[in-house]
């Protein structure tokens, strides 16, 4: 193989197959979202293109007959608030654990991580009790309260690793200049840790969007639901699945989110680089 050809193919030859395998279900989702139901059930039709023409009725039904937009809004709202809470709680905690001397910091770091080992399929029952005692049943507040319980541990652990890479001399210099610890934290450390913060934002947001066990058990009214909970409810009626609608409902948040993650990937890499394992 000529050198030029090898250079052209090189990484692409490796990446392309992966990209095809990973994204290929999404291509199929796009086709299905615009496909007529009768064609979908027709065994002789080609699944990868349209035979009977394109239809917008699936998408129209999704937006008109279900509170899809509301679900998107709810999910976004919960995501933003939970990310904010996570940052507010995890930043100081990560910092403190990073600067904490002795084995304590490391132990607590590991301990925090172990909270992931408890499956929500077990926890949702006692938590239902808590939610109802706090009169948060059937409201987004229940999710806003509970989601940080799985975004905070990860974020704290990540930020802890990240802060460890920032030389204490930087803060000492600020302290000598007359800042208090808190001021040094806010003025010096946090700006440098922007990549780490972005990392936390992206991971926490993706955890929120994916969660659905708490979402379906704490909230029963369709209008108060988030995306993961609302779609299986309104688009799966007994033994009738509205496939076109489900696919459209899946694509609409996935594409922007993937674009977002991609855009932040560079910053994000820097975040991880400084983080987890130093």
């Amino acid at each position: 193989m000529s050198h030029a050809l090898r250079r052209f193919l090189g990484p692409r030859a490796v990446v392309l197959p992966f990209a095809i395998v990973l994204a290929f279900p999404f291509y199929w989702m796009v086709i299905t979202a615009f496909k007529k139901t009768t064609e979908l059930y027709d065994l002789s039709s080609v699944p990868f293109w349209w035979h009977d023409g394109v239809t917008f009725s699936n998408i129209r039904d999704l937006f008109q007959n279900t509170p899809y937009v509301t679900w998107l809004e709810n999910t976004a709202l919960v995501g933003v608030i939970v990310v904010a809470i996570t940052l507010v709680v995890a930043l100081p905690a990560g910092y403190a654990l990073a600067r904490l001397s002795g084995g304590w910091g490391q132990t607590m770091g590991v301990g925090i991580f172990l909270t992931y080992l408890v499956p929500p399929t077990l926890l949702f029952l006692p938590l239902s009790r808590v939610i109802s005692d706090l009169h948060l049943s059937n409201s987004l507040g229940s999710l806003i309260l509970v989601y940080p319980s799985f975004t905070i541990p990860f974020s704290t652990w990540l930020l802890m690793g990240f802060f460890k890479t920032i030389p204490p001399e930087l803060e000492d210099a600020a302290l000598i200049d007359g800042c208090s610890r808190i001021q040094a934290l806010i003025r010096i450390v946090f700006p440098i840790s922007l990549p780490g913060i972005l990392t936390v934002v992206i991971f926490s947001f993706s955890l929120v969007v994916n969660e659905f066990i708490y979402a379906i058990t704490f909230i029963s009214s369709s209008h108060n639901r988030t995306l993961s909970a609302g779609v299986p409810t309104d688009l799966i009626r007994g033994d009738l699945v509205l496939w076109g609608g489900v696919m459209a409902a899946t694509l609409i948040p996935s594409i922007p989110l993937a674009l977002l993650y991609n855009a932040f990937l560079n910053r994000f890499i820097a975040g991880f680089t400084g983080g987890a394992f130093r």
Binding site: T37, T38, Y41, D42, L43, N65, F124, L125, P126, S128, R129, I131, S132, D133, S137, N138, I213, I216, T217, F218, S220, S221, S222, P232, T233, D234, I236, R237, G238, D239, L240, V241
Partner: protein
């Protein structure tokens, strides 16, 4: 009648939306369905009470629209009550029920789709509602509903069944004609199966971990005289009849079905039929209504028959059983009970708006069922008439000949019956071994719930 806030015309118009879907072309019956004997008194939005209900997303969207938009508003007006209904996916019902019990708070009325005798301690005794409906309708609920909601040990009603969905066979008349057969008995089915399969149209009876397979397999067992428990609530799965039906199903699979049936979801047997491939499935009439709506080319060739007769009897199972429960912690118990009683007495609206999906547990609640069924205009005209007979004669409760109890419920929910059938059909065990294993499994489950005092 005295003047009403909601004019007759308005009511009729709204009811008409539902009626049109049914193809009746008239609204007189529906209008009467919720003429709650009296004027609508409350015209302002400040209703005194509030009642919260949780139930599944009905397969027929028009039904939920009617229920939410018309029925509960009318009922609420009459009873000075703001009624809200939350609809969730039927697969979420168990988790939601557990969460409400754990939280000791939730909806006043919770509708389940199968009898949950294990919830008895968490709910009130529904006997007063049963009594009221008996009085008002001057008749009793059918045996199916009784055996699904009554605990003979504690003598309590652990639920109130408003209605149920019968489970016929839905089959392609044209395809069966081509092979000169019809599914009158299971023997006929076995005879026709290889010919149908050779024509590219196998039978579609699932053996998967899901609702339809569960129902179909247990119903098939009944036709062969094989049962999970006897009338004394002892597990009797290990019997000659069970071995026979397992052998039958293995034969049927090998000669007339494909391995697709092992990986099904509740929607799968439907889509199998809609693709044109399947020649027979056991399913509620969602399997005929959807083709009608989609305008599938063979929808006029879909016939509805009772379950084929087996060597012992012709007896099917309900597809889903509507069972409402009122939690002990519910705030509006009296109103909830009133709601249920009215629901049953005025069941005609529910029967019609659900396109005949929902049948009343008190047969007298909709006395001339046959008349409505015959009026359905979809071809072949009158094809839904048989549904009345199926509902009355050929629908047994889960746990027949005994009562539905927590043990039967667990066996159902862990899909042990389809597992048994599948392992024999796939050659993983012999019918005799499978029956024996099942007996041991069931014995353990029965003992557990008996020890817990629930049976």
């Amino acid at each position: 009648m005295a003047e009403r806030k909601l004019t007759r015309k308005e009511l009729v118009k709204r009811a008409g939306v539902g009626a049109a879907a049914v193809g009746l072309g008239g609204t007189a019956g529906l209008e009467k369905a919720f003429a709650f004997a009296g004027p609508h008194r409350y015209t302002h939005n400040d209703l005194k009470y509030s009642l919260s209900i949780l139930q599944w997303v009905h397969f027929v969207p028009a039904y939920d629209k009617w229920l939410d938009g018309t029925y509960i508003k009318a009922w609420g007006q009459k009873n000075d009550c703001d009624v809200t209904i939350d609809h969730i996916n039927l697969t979420e019902l168990p988790a939601r029920a557990a969460a409400e019990v754990a939280a000791q708070s939730g909806h006043d009325l919770f509708m389940l789709l199968n009898p949950r005798a294990d919830l008895e301690d968490q709910v009130i005794d529904h006997a007063p509602i049963v009594q009221e409906v008996n009085n008002r309708l001057k008749s009793k609920m059918n045996d199916l509903a009784l055996k699904s909601t009554y605990n003979p040990k504690t003598k309590r009603f652990f639920g109130f069944s408003d209605g149920y969905v019968p489970d016929p066979v839905v089959w392609r008349h044209d395809l069966w004609n081509d092979v000169g057969e019809s599914p009158a008995t299971w023997d006929h089915v076995l005879k026709a199966a290889p010919k149908l399969k050779a024509n590219g149209h196998p039978i579609g009876i699932g053996m998967s971990n899901e609702l339809d397979s569960n129902m179909a397999n247990i119903a098939l067992m009944q036709c062969f005289g094989s049962y999970i428990q006897n009338a004394k609530h002892q597990p009797v799965i290990n019997s000659k009849n069970t071995v026979n039906v397992l052998k039958y199903m293995k034969n049927l699979y090998e000669s007339g079905m494909t391995n697709e049936i092992f990986g099904w979801q509740p929607a799968s047997n439907n889509t199998y039929l809609y693709s044109g491939k399947g020649s027979l499935i056991l399913n509620a009439i969602s399997a005929t209504r959807t083709p009608e709506q989609l305008g599938l080319p063979f929808s006029d060739n879909l016939w509805i028959w009772p379950i084929p007769a087996g060597p012992v009897q012709r007896l099917g199972l309900e597809h889903v059983m509507g069972v409402y429960v009122i939690w002990k912690f519910a705030k509006q118990k009296k109103l909830a009970m009133q709601y249920l009683a009215d629901l049953e007495v005025f069941y005609k609206g529910h029967f019609l708006n659900s396109q005949f999906y929902n049948f009343p547990s008190w047969p007298k609640a909709v006395p001339n069922v046959g008349k409505y069924l015959a009026k359905d205009t979809h071809k072949p005209v009158g094809k839904y008439t048989i549904l009345g007979r199926i509902a009355q004669r050929y629908t047994a409760n889960l746990g027949y000949p005994g009562y539905s109890n927590a043990a039967v419920s667990e066996i159902f929910n862990t899909s042990l019956i389809p597992s048994m059938f599948a392992s024999v059909a796939q050659g993983k065990s012999t019918p005799e071994d499978a029956a024996r294993t099942a007996q041991a499994q069931f014995a353990g489950i029965f003992k557990k719930w008996r020890d817990a005092g629930k049976m």
